[in-house]
């Protein structure tokens, strides 16, 4: 069921304590800042957050971490020059980290949306990030068994939606949006523009509306 929602607050109101939340974006590109701010305001705690990074500077995901709302991060690249809020929480032992090679992160998210129960990948074979995981030699290469990452909610950003919830993105801000939209039970999208159904050429739609639950326009 697709809903067009007036405010970001209403769009995230259903997120409960202990939820797993996927947040789109690679660095700041594609990060749905307004939805994250609303998530902060809604008060949900003990969150597991899936994002490529662990927040930058003093905005968005970084603030959610600073306020102690994130119990666990699943990401590929937490440490950056301006990831001071994550760094402090991590060093204080106040946040759990599941570090995943970026391509495995993407494919585990994709697998969840595609109904795949797991897959073997050469990435990480023989490294400490494969410790404790099942391995096989397939096609002559060592490969590691990886499992899907499901989520209760995905918060993503797209450029435009039409009346059917079909989405198009902008440049490298697309990044994790399409796969997170498919992987979560409930997908909330902030867009810059909502256009009438039929205005988006079906040939250029990136995320079909079947994956989308809530759309909110953000100025």
């Amino acid at each position: 069921m697709l809903n067009f929602i007036d405010t970001v607050g209403e769009a995230v109101a259903g997120i409960k304590d202990g939820s797993t939340v996927m947040i789109g974006g690679f660095g700041n590109a594609g990060q749905p800042f307004e939805l994250i701010d609303a998530l902060m305001d809604c008060g949900a705690r003990e969150l597991t957050v899936v994002n490529n990074n662990a927040g930058q500077g003093d905005q968005g995901l970084a603030l959610l971490i600073k306020e102690g709302r994130v119990k666990k991060m699943i990401c590929s690249f937490p440490r950056q020059s301006d990831s001071w809020h994550f760094d402090a929480k991590f060093r204080a032992g106040e946040i759990e980290l599941e570090l995943v090679p970026q391509g495995n992160l993407a494919e585990r998210i994709r697998a969840a949306g595609a109904g795949i129960g797991g897959f073997f990948t050469p990435t990480g074979y023989g490294t400490m990030l494969a410790e404790g995981k099942e391995t096989r030699i397939l096609d002559g290469r060592g490969q590691v068994f990886e499992t899907p990452i499901h989520a209760d909610v995905a918060l993503i950003k797209a450029l435009k939606a039409d009346g059917k919830g079909n989405l198009v993105y902008r440049k490298t801000a697309r990044n994790f949006g399409p796969i997170m939209a498919a992987a979560a039970k409930h997908t909330v999208v902030q867009v810059s523009e909502i256009v009438p159904t039929g205005d988006l050429d079906p040939e250029i739609i990136v995320t079909p509306g079947i994956y989308v639950n809530s759309i909110v326009k953000v100025a």
Binding site: A29, F77, R79, F86, P101, Q102, N104, P122, K171, P178
Partner: protein, 230 residues
Amino acid sequence: MSVQSNSRAGIQTSDKPLGRDDLARLVAKDIKPGSFVNLGIGQPTLVSNYLQPEQNITLHTENGMLGMGPEATGDQIDGDLINAGKIPVTELPGASYFHHADSFAIMRGGHLDICVLGAFQVSATGDLANWHTGAPDAIPAVGGAMDLATGAKDVFVMMTLLTRDGASKIVEACTYPLTGIGCVTRVYTDKAVFLTGPDGVQVRETFGCTLEELQALVPVPLTAAPAVER
């Protein structure tokens, strides 16, 4: 593989060590025309400054783009168009965008010809360590390093040969946590270009030292590469 006219005796091709830009120029020259290439963050990014238009190289960035252009300046800067280092970049005619799972399928699926990465250590058999020092207080961050190392057809490393303490970064076996096993095919350093693989370490050329002087610095057996490799 670049073929040079140097004789076997002429393995030393420069009378002094190469600076970062000279090394980047050399890597750029060695990339075959028409290649699809991913340049890692840091020193490897310099290579893009020396790629020539007639080489027709297409750059991939793991955050979802083929056909990446130079760093953006002034009015070109667009927060939605960044590279893997989160630096604003530009798009070239013929560029394409795709989501993260497709971007890493491009790597894992063996479609990239070359990636160029930095490294802490490379072993004699081409194991790579470049993501984590293993220090107890270090916050680990892997990004796409493991995916690139295992996915690209050729993995080139760019680094200084020695650490600040004078230890060789080419080692018998990596002591830092591994990024990938047996994945590095070439190592470009300030003092020499090494070819790594199951047959051990061959030296393609040296800069500011002889093979014997180089061997005194590197704790694995070195041999001169066959002339055809040079």
